[in-house]
């Protein structure tokens, strides 16, 4: 189906099913129960899952296939966000023109930065991309304030021109981004017994965009171009002496992944029309590296998993406070309750960074292939009961 082989089709359908059912899957606990804290099925977080999924998928096309580690990819996300918000301000609150401009702009920036940075490889390339991104962050935060909004971020105002839409929404407020009359924040709720599920238009729009991006990524992975990119990672010298010019290949990969980042940035701005300079800071670039590695470098689905895992921690773990902890352990005798709370407290709420750091270390130490390898190991554990145990360690192939 869709020009994919059976395995890839299955993977695509699986991801499609997961995203379509996410409002159910992410809200496994009934409202009001102690575990409801762990529910992630609310629009903002679900949107973030798929948007950062797009970002990571794109990053993986560069890093996973060619091995070029860009440490400045968040810059393109920022460019996309700024471009999208400007489009909202000047032209229309319809997200399509914003997305188009964002992808084009980030593509142009990626072309320029990639052209220069790809003259070097290895850590020198990483530092060049980092330098460009840090320059963009620093300028956006300070001297470019008239264009970027600086510290407060670029935001919509009541007196923006919005040439196509006219100025103000009916209720006297700034209109919100939408798609031909549907607003991104529109939601429908379903109450099933004690469970409540929210279906948000913005989420499903982003999810659709992510599925398309994922599909394109699969096609790229399976194409001759993708094979060339993997060949660059495997042995650039041999590729040169095989009559292939590696520079345009890496540049194309860089631009494509930059455009993915721009697309993610545009979607972020579409869900929440504000673009802040912090999303270009080096820690944001580092985050996408972590997402990709955490999920599994060079695998198709890994980056999506990694993005989900990190965003989940950032948004769920960080919100647990000592009050909630006490309510969890309330059934225990007082002394034990306090002890448990004291033990757990450093790792949650304001300590979520600590948990994040520990998880990175554990994953890198024990699961070099990321979460995907973890999944494979579990799968093998089940299989090995049927087949022989001495199966050779499988190579991590794209598409697993």
């Amino acid at each position: 189906m869709f020009g994919l082989d059976k395995k890839d089709t299955m993977l695509l359908l699986l991801v499609a099913a997961l995203t379509a059912l996410a409002p159910f899957l992410l809200n496994p606990f009934p409202e009001g129960s102690a575990m409801a804290q762990f529910n992630a099925g609310y629009p903002d977080l679900m949107q973030r899952f798929v948007i950062f999924g797009i970002f990571a998928i794109g990053f993986n096309i560069l890093f996973g296939l060619t091995g070029y580690l860009s440490f400045g990819h968040a810059a393109f996300l920022g460019v996309g966000s700024y471009a999208a918000v400007w489009m909202f301000k000047l032209l229309s609150m319809n997200v399509l023109p914003a997305i188009v401009l964002a992808v084009v702009m980030s593509g142009i920036f990626a072309l320029l930065i990639g052209y220069v940075s790809l003259r070097r490889s290895g850590i020198y390339f990483s530092i060049l991309t980092l330098a460009f991104a840090q320059m963009m962050f620093a300028l956006a935060y300070s001297v470019l304030t008239p264009i970027t909004g600086g510290e407060t971020g670029l935001q919509l105002a009541l007196d923006d021109p919005r040439i196509l839409d006219g100025a103000v929404a009916a209720n006297g407020n700034i209109p919100v981004p939408g798609l031909f009359g549907m607003e991104m924040r529109d939601s429908v709720q379903l109450e099933l017994g004690a469970w409540v599920f929210t279906f948000n238009f913005g989420y499903y729009f982003s999810a659709l965009v992510m599925l398309i991006s994922f599909y394109i990524a699969i096609r790229i992975f399976r194409s001759p171009f993708g094979m060339m990119l993997r060949a660059i990672k495997a042995n650039q010298q041999r590729l040169n002496y095989t009559g292939l010019n590696t520079r345009p290949y890496t540049l194309a990969a860089f631009v494509i992944s930059g455009m993915y980042a721009g697309l993610a940035g545009a979607l972020m701005a579409s869900m929440d029309p504000l673009a802040g300079a912090e999303r270009m800071f080096w820690t944001a670039s580092g985050e996408v590296v972590l997402m990709t590695i955490l999920g599994g470098v060079g695998t198709l689905i890994g980056p999506i998993l990694g993005a989900g895992a990190i965003k989940y921690m950032e948004n769920i773990i960080s919100k647990i406070n000592s009050d909630i902890l006490h309510s969890w352990f309330a059934f225990l005798p007082d002394g034990l309750e306090d002890l448990l709370v004291t033990l757990v407290y450093p790792f949650i709420g304001k300590g979520w960074h600590l948990t994040l750091g520990i998880i990175f270390m554990l994953v890198v130490i024990f699961l070099p292939g990321g979460l995907v390898e973890g999944g494979q190991r579990i799968a093998r554990l089940f299989k090995s009961k049927k087949t022989d145990r001495s199966a050779p360690k499988p190579q991590i192939e794209p598409g697993e």
Binding site: G226, M227, R230, R238, T242, G243, L244
Partner: protein, 253 residues
């Protein structure tokens, strides 16, 4: 007809004179060996031919066209393929994929943004790659990850990758270095077979005199960056200057 013409090539690395006044011409459809003691400048010369190094002075003509100043991939597209001393293959890729890449390079040129069609739909490339693998007797290993193969198989794959491009000139840099005697003999047989099956010019740099004398039709002896003598294998064997400069030291072979 002369396929390769090297004229008055000089190359210095700082104070070290690596090549001095090198002249070399290779006839089409011959096997030409370049021998010489360590540090004689053999590898430097080879690197000048494939675009890795640029000579300070002199010219290198391939089929009447200068290769100087061209990037390695351009020189390859002109018809020169190179086999490295340690096999350079795409270790993370499967044998089949390894073989398909030169086929793509042959068909599509140095760059082609073929990002949407799938590899498995490239029937002509698959056919061609399988054909070469069969030729190289490696078809049964096609799904293996290349880095998992033995050194001999890697060498075989690398040669196959070069041949799949149907180069007019094949450069071999010590193809049997570090190989066991049996592997060496296999490689000699392979090269002989290749030569017998098609029109191809081979330039081989080799330490192993057994290999050289089994294959070469012409031999150039390089010493201290300059060609000592060029002649047929028979004449080289008896040449006093060569014995003095080279063979005398390595007669232990």
């Amino acid at each position: 007809m002369r396929i390769l013409e090297v004229k008055d090539v000089n190359k210095r690395f700082g104070g070290l004179k690596a090549l001095s006044e090198v002249n070399l011409s290779v006839e089409e459809n011959t096997v030409h060996a370049i021998i010489g003691p360590n540090g004689a400048g053999k590898s430097t010369l080879l690197n000048c031919l494939v675009g890795k190094l640029i000579p300070d002075t002199g010219s290198v003509m391939f089929h009447g066209q200068s290769v100087l100043g061209r990037a390695p991939h351009e020189i390859n597209q002109m018809g020169i393929s190179r086999v490295f001393q340690t096999p350079e293959i795409f270790g993370d890729l499967t044998v089949m994929e390894n073989m398909m890449i030169p086929c793509f390079a042959k068909r599509d040129g140095a760059f082609e943004l073929n990002a949407i069609s799938s590899v498995s739909s490239q029937k002509d490339i698959i056919e061609r790659a399988e054909h070469v693998l069969e030729d190289m007797k490696m078809i049964d290993k096609r799904h293996m990850v290349a880095s998992a193969m033995s050194r001999g198989d890697k060498r075989r794959l690398e040669i196959g990758m070069c041949l799949s491009q149907e180069p007019r000139l094949l450069l071999l840099d010590e193809p049997t270095a570090g190989m066991a005697r049996a592997d060496t003999n296999n490689t000699i047989d392979l090269l002989k077979e290749i030569k017998s099956k098609r029109d191809i010019t081979i330039v081989i740099i080799e330490h192993d005199m057994h290999v050289v004398f089994s294959l070469a039709e012409r031999i150039t002896v390089l010493a201290q960056g300059t060609p000592l003598v060029e002649d047929t294998p028979e004449n080289i064997k008896g040449h006093p200057k060569v014995r003095e400069a080279y063979l005398g030291e390595s007669s232990g072979h």
